[in-house]
Each structure stands twice: as C-alpha cells, then as structure tokens.
C-alpha cells in the first residue's frame, strides 16, 4: 500500500489538527485516527471517526443523565450481561466510520451487510487507479474437496507462478484497454470500466454501529469466510479491541470463543457427561455434524 504525495499530505494535515470536546474520547483510537492499516497488497482500512466508548454503552443501557459509569467493574459486568443476554440495543449507541480500499470481489461480499452507511468511489464519475489484487503465492490454493466453497492445499511454487502470470497479464491488459477506451475513443467512463477485473481496487467510506459491526466480524472473521475478507475483518477487530475493550472482551467470550450446540448436540453432551459412551451412529448427528461437535469439544 502506498499513498501519493498529495494523499499523504492531506492525511498529515488532518492529523495535525486537534480540538477540544466534551464528547468521550478514546486515546488509543485518537492515536490511530486517519492512519491506514495495510490490508492485502494495495488495500487498507483507516478510522475516520468514532462515536462513543465502553461507558457510552452503559450510559445508553441505563438511559442515564450523566456519563452512566459508576465504576469500571460495574461497567464490565453490565456489558457482559448485555452481551450474554443479547440485549443489543445499547451496543448500537457506538458508531465507527472507516475509509476502506478493497478489491471489488471483496466489496461485493462486504456490501451484503445492509445495516450500514456506504459511500463508494464512483467509476462513472472518476477514473479508477490501475491497482489490482494479486494473491501472494502462499495464498493460492486448490479447490477444497470437502467444502464446495473453500480452499484446499497450497499450489506448488511452479503452479503459483503460472497462475499469477496469467492473472497479472489479464489485469494489466484490462487496465490498458480501460485507458485506451477513454483516451483514444473518449468512451464514457461508465462504459469503459466494464472490462476491468473483479480484482481491481475500489474505495468507500463505511459507517456502522457497534452491534452490527460485531455481527459483521463474527461472520467475516470466521474460518469459512474467504481469506481476503478475513484480512480486513481481523484488522477491524484490532480497532474494536482498542476502541471498546470491555465490549470486545465480552464479544470474545460470548461469541467468538463460544459455540452454539444444536438440540441433538446438547443431548450427546448430556449423555456423555452422564457417563454414556456415545458413538455417531446413535447420536442423531450427521457425520459432518458429529465431527464438528468433536472439534468443539476438543475430544
């Protein structure tokens, strides 16, 4: 990831200004403000603005007149209670605004999260930078055989080289055509862009409340999510951990680190705790569910 001199200057100017406010601030987020965290080869996330902190969750939950916090211990207990019982509306009282640069095929997964505000760079209005995503060799893998939408073994170096050569040649060719269509034929931008690859980078401003952000993270940090969007989700997770550490801890304990057991899986656990030696055949679970349960129970 590389900013132009102009972009860097704008960013530096933004960081140079400080103001006085009565609103809650979070030092570790202030320190990050506007600075890009690189993601993939040309992408980034950067925090543009934030509203609220852990105390603001408590304040809203209590519909209180003051800042709502009596003690950090009290805040922690209430936030954990809210997370455990899925009382999610107080979490909606915090808001995060990001500037994100990302490949279009990832943008298409991301935008499916509807409860968010988005303003995307318009390729009808402006010309896209000639930047496209090329995976690292170690991220190229064959189609998984046990999962129709996943990856299996990593490609051999020779195969990876061949794959990247093909992807690169086509992407460069498509950007050359894009520029030729506009420069030589004056073709309207909204048409010239239709030949660009899904690996081309786009950008947007994205704003979302904490509850919906945690839902996004629980889906996109998951190992079933495509690797490339997980890179972004992990980077945002680091921001959230800095921003609202008590909510993040509760999220890790009550979402990320936990597991949902189906009615049948619970029955197996109960039988095993009662000393019974359950096997898959009489578990009521499919073979796949059985192995998923073993993985959860680490047994």
């Amino acid at each position: 990831m590389k900013l132009t001199a102009e972009e860097q200057a704008a960013l530096d100017a933004a960081r140079a200004d400080t103001f006085t406010t009565r609103r809650p601030t979070v030092d570790s987020i202030e320190a990050r403000l506007f600075v890009p965290t690189p993601c993939l080869d040309h992408g980034f996330i950067r925090v543009i603005d934030y509203m609220g902190n852990d105390a603001a969750i408590v304040q809203a939950a209590r519909v209180s007149y003051g800042k709502g916090t009596k003690s950090v211990r009290g805040d922690r207990g209430l936030i954990r209670y809210l997370m455990r019982h899925r009382h999610t509306t107080p979490l909606e009282m915090c808001e995060l605004k990001l500037h994100v640069k990302l490949p279009i095929f990832i943008a298409r997964q991301w935008i499916r999260h509807r409860t968010a505000n988005v303003n995307e760079y318009s390729a009808r209005y402006s010309v896209l930078d000639a930047e496209f995503y090329m995976p690292r060799p170690q991220d190229l893998a064959v189609q998984a055989t046990n999962n129709r939408q996943g990856r299996g073994d990593v490609l051999s170096p020779a195969q990876a080289q061949a794959v990247l050569a093909l992807l690169k040649r086509d992407a460069i060719g498509a950007f050359d055509s894009y520029n030729a269509l506009m420069d030589q034929h004056q073709l309207a931008r909204e048409l010239a862009r239709i030949g660009l690859p899904l690996s081309a980078y786009t950008q947007w401003y994205w704003k979302i409340d904490l509850h919906n952000l945690l839902h996004f993270l629980s889906l996109r940090m998951d190992r079933h999510a495509q690797y490339e969007i997980r890179v972004y989700a992990d980077a945002i997770g680091q921001v959230v951990a800095d921003w609202v550490p008590l909510a993040w801890e509760a999220f890790c304990d009550y979402r990320l680190g936990g597991a949902f057991l189906s009615k049948q899986a619970l029955a197996v656990v109960r039988r095993r705790l009662a000393g019974e030696d359950v096997v898959q055949q009489d578990s009521g679970l499919s073979d796949r569910e059985w192995h998923e349960l073993l993985a959860v129970l680490k047994t």
Copy 2:
C-alpha cells in the same frame, strides 16, 4: 421540565469534562452538549453525542484522504448539489445521538421511523416517574371537520378547563393505582404499568444518521403532524441548523421550502404560464388538490 438534584449533578459533571480530539468538532453543538431543551410540560431533548459536520459530508462524497474541504464555498455548492439530486449517502455519514423524554403516545409515532437506534427506559425493569402530559388550554381543540386526523378550533376556556380536569383526574388516579399495585400487592412491574395512560412520559436514547433525521424532520415538522411531535421536531431542527448549517440551508431550500407538483398540477402551471385561465373543473385536479395547488402557488 425539572431535573432532580442527582440528575442535575450528573449532567453538570458530564459538562465539566473536556478532552482533546482529532475528530471534527462543532462549537455551537459543544456548547449545547448534554443540556436539555424543554419540550411540552415535562419532556426534553438533549444532545448526547454527534459525529461529523458539514465538511464530513463533503469528505465522504469525495471519498477523500484529507478532510475533504477545499473551501466553504465549494462545500456549500457540493452539499446543495447532493441535496438537489437526492444523492443521500454522504449525508448518512453524520450521526446524532439524543436523550429524549416524551409522552408515550408520541413515542409510538416516533418509533415508526425504523432506521434509527433506540434504547428505551424499561418499565419492566424500573419504576416510571409520575409524570404525564397535560396540554396547555390553547392546545386543546375540537376535531377538525375537513381533516379526519387533525384539530379544528380551540376549545372555549370553560371547555378546556373541563377537559383538563378529566384528563388530570384519570392520570393521577392511574399513577396512584400503579404505585398501590406495586407497593401494596407487590405486583410485578411489567403488569402494574398496564393501567398507565398514554400521556405518561417515557425516555430513550435515540441515534440516527443525518439523512434519516432530515427525513424524520420533513415528516414531523409538517403541519399535518400532530402538534405534540412537531414540538420535538422543531427543537431537533434547531440542533441540526447549528450542527450542519450548510446541509440545513440546503434542506430548507430543497425540501421544507419547496413543493412537489403532480403531473396534473404541473400541467396547470404550464397552461397558466402560457396565459390560459384554468379553472378547477378542467384542471384534472380534485377540488382538494386544486386548493392545495393554489396554496402552493399563493395565487
């Protein structure tokens, strides 16, 4: 509207703290922060937090690296362009959080605006204050005859007095019962509250983006809205005018102060501008639409 000593102390403490931030601030909103603006007899709105300012709209519209503003004149032009062409996504990049105290019958109209975050004081969990809305005599009016959901002439002083006596007696009685049910019979709060009147006050934290807030205001500042919710909408309008003055000006010019003309109404205007003397009978408009058009055209 009157705060308890404890509420006032919490509020004063919140106002006393100031912090340093890199985020955009708006002086006139900082000055207002946390202070209630009275609405009706016991209600209020107060600003708890805000995200963004006029420049943040421009910054998002430009998907820019810096603060996005080149000049105030440029910002004004762009914001007016966005408002005129209903490019509303950049407006979603500003967010406002309010604490509102309001009668339940107004809360029921308000909550119909779905694209917002709400956390309401729970009467299952806590006891409601014995506060209920009593209209001022000048706000008591007979049922409108020309509009099934509006008010007509103001009641005579004698009638107003009789009406208020009745409303007051019932409301006081209902709160007396509410307390008796809990204190004497230990009835669960979630049941004791079912006899309270719709005029009882509730409270919530309410958070909404600027685009959806302006939509709320365009409907709830309208003369067809019930007077009691207009009081709140007008108070919030004042906050918005202070917060994002360029967006507010554009909203007044392109929404509040303008009018939508139907296909038939436009045809009438065109004929009249061409010198024709159109009458309702050959206008294609119903009698009511005809008078609405005359009112818009002030002719």
Copy 3:
C-alpha cells in the same frame, strides 16, 4: 375474542372466494386463511397472506448454488444445512402477512423488531373500541426477586381480585372519559386518546420475511419474554410449523432446542468430559452463569 356481525361477514366473504394460481400453495395455511386465532382476552392473530413454502427456500438457495448442485440433495438436508450455517438469505424469500389485535403495551415491545412492514389502526383518524386487557388471576404474579424484569409467585386469590378490581375500574373510567371528551367536548381524537391505558387494544397489519420472523420468535417465545407477548409468539409459531414444516423443524433443532455456550462454559464442559470435577469457584463462570450452564446440561 368476539367479532362483530359485520366483521364476521367480511371474513366469511373473504374465505368463500377461491382462485387459480401458478404460485406455490400450502394446504394447511389455506385452511387457516383469514380465521382469527384468539390471543389473550380480546386479541387475535390471523393469516392474511403468505409467499413461498419450504421448496421456495431451496429454490432461492440454489440460485446461489447454481450449477454446483449436481446431485439432488433433499430439501430437508439443504434447509438444515442453511439453518446450521446461518445462511439466512434464502429464508428471507418467504413472507407472511398477519392481522394482529393486541394490547398497546405489547405492541410497544413488538414494534422494536424493525425489519418488518406495519400498518396500524390510527387513533388520530378513528375511534378505538372499548377493549382493554385484563390478566387472568393465574397470570398475576409478584415482582421476581431474582430477576429485575420478571414475575415471581402467583398472587393469592384475594390479592388477584383486588388487583383486577383496581385495573378494571381505572380502565373503564378512562374509556368513559375518552368518549365523554369526544362526545361532549368534541375534543380532537388525537387528544382524547391520550388518557387511555396501555392495556387498550390496538390492531395492525404486520408483514415480515421468514428469517426475521424466526428471529422474532426466538426472542419472543423465550421464557424471559413477557408472558403476554409469548402468547402471540406461540400462536405464530404454530402457523410457521404448518407453513414451512422443514424450516420449522430445523429452527427447533438449531435454535430453540439448542444453546450457546460461552468460551468459559465450553471450557467447563471440556474439563468435565475429561473427567475433571469442576466447581463454580474455579470455572471462570459467575454464580448465575454457572447455574444457567447446569440447567442447560441438565446435570
């Protein structure tokens, strides 16, 4: 619950008509169409319309899976897979429309589910029927001591009688005033209604997709939900069981009948399965969480 002769005639007329369609139909829902299922003393739900069935979920899911589905999996297997992996978008392809009559205090809980379409009877425009909710004696209970928002023991018959007398007297008084305000003083309806109790009944049309409906049910059929809204949720659950039996079965197995275990709770289960005798003090769980876990594990 009692319909007027006019309402019953309208309902009978609606049921008498049948039409031919190419759309999927569900016999057990056709049999129910328009007929009210009573809820509480004066309320009901009735199915007005529905879109889709179990097969429609599979049909929508296979657009997404497209040509990848070469072997025909059973609808049941696919629906269970979708439910287990929270692939919820195909579930959104079914839609249910209900007419609901319910007390206002329940309507206020219900409306918090934002992803739905609602059109409510307007008390600004029309006069409300003189119907209000009176709990049955066996549903009157004291405030729970171990749960700030629940009910404890049932009231004694004598206390129940006293409570109901108070609630009834106030409600009748409020409706008398309501009518007097309109009839004797011609007060506008939008003002006359402000003294009505939260136990008064309102009505609405409510339309929601299956995914969001199941989310509603998972929260409102839960034992932490207020009894009065559970009555409605249970009635709707019966409709869903008839309408999309495969989706309902999967929902029962993967949501209602299952349980989420936190990171700490999972650790306890793993230790116990490994033969360790864990006690609360070294479980990492609070006392309350410990007892919740024991209840889930039935040990």
Copy 4:
C-alpha cells in the same frame, strides 16, 4: 438471452402446475409467472412470486383507518390519496419476487438498495457461465462534457467497432484464463474468478415490497441512471403496471410525471404567474437550476 434445454424444461414444468388458493391473484401476472423478459444481451427478469394486489393496499390502509371509513371510497381514490400524502406503509403490504440475470457492474448499483432480500449465485461455490455484456453499437457514447457521470454523443461506427473489439477480446481472454485456472491448475473457484470482468453476468433472487420497489424505480428509471440499469427498471415497471394498475397510475401522476420545485424555483413560478418577467440573474437559481426549471415548465 437463451435458456439451456434443462432450464427451459424446469421453467415449463413450473408453469404447467396450477393450484387453488384463497389469496388474491392477478391474472396478468399469473400469465407472466416464471417467463423471462429479456434485458440487454444475455440478461432477463422473471417474476417468481407476488403477494397482494391493489385491493390489498386498501385493505391494509383501512386497518389503520379502521371504523373511520364509513362511506365506501373507491380503491382508486384511497390509493391516490396515500400516494399523494406519502402514506407509504400500506404500499409495503405488497411484495414481488424476481429472478434477475444481470452484468456485475449493474448488480453493484442495484445492491445499493438495501431494503430488499437478495440471494445471489455464488462464484465461490459454482462456476459462472461464460457470458458477458457487450453493448450494442448505438449504446456506445463518449463521456458527456456537461455531466461528469453521463454519456454524450454516440460513437462513430468505426470507433464503436474498435471499442467492441477491445472489450470482446479482453472478456474472452479473461474467461479462457478463468477456465484454465480451474481446469489446469485446480485453483479454488473463489480465486479463479477474480480476473473476470465486471461485464460478466451474475444472477440473483430479489424480493422487495412495493413501496421500496417504487422508490427503486423512481431512481433507476430516471434519465440520470446508467442506461443499462434503466433497461431492467423499465422492464420491472411493466410488471408493476400489470400487477397493481391503480398504484402504478398514482405513481406516474404523483412521482414519475411530477416534479419537485425548490423554494427558489417556486418563488420564480409565483412571480411569473403574477406577471413578472423573471430572468436567471435575479431568480436566485444557478444557471443549471434555471435551465432545469425551464425544462420542467416547458417554457
């Protein structure tokens, strides 16, 4: 647009079945059900299901208006009233489900309408057909000079030929690479697809209520929308005109065929109706707004 024999057989089988229902039906939509309407070179829309009709709008509206409706107003009058006064909730009580095949760059504009249900064909799970959008020569135009996001004059035949040759060569090359990456290198589908062009076709099931559909149409049938999405919007408009003809007529009169006049534009109209000869310089309108107003007034 061409279906495979297998697709055509599935479609014919779906059309062959008919059922009996108590739900409202619309003959002209039943006649269309499942049949694709071609859009662009390989795309289509086809109606999969619908809920409600004009009468269902009135039915929902009258719950809200309840007993207030004593004289029977025609459905048409009520629907026009609802549309004129933006009482949009009854319109939400109708729902349409479509299967759409469309180029990815159009899908990216379309998906920005958030209040809808979508299930898209997954290129992680399945292989995309080798179909991409090639504009007709008459749809190729230079960048507009007076509008940064529009098209100007049509290209000369020679230029159009050159442009199409370039677009076609790149698209064919990208699909060749796509297949080679999967077949020769076993690359995971989720990676192989990143080089495909934005002109590649995707498919989805899309379900939306009538209110939000009309909002979509008002934006996407507009002459400022990109031509390629207008083709789809126009095709859907035809479906709506058949499905709910009264709502469609009201939409044409009160939305499509009307115009919003800003505060300043209204002032100009008033002055001109009063006989004043207003010129742009003292109109309060920018040059662009002035010409837009003249176009609206056709003077």
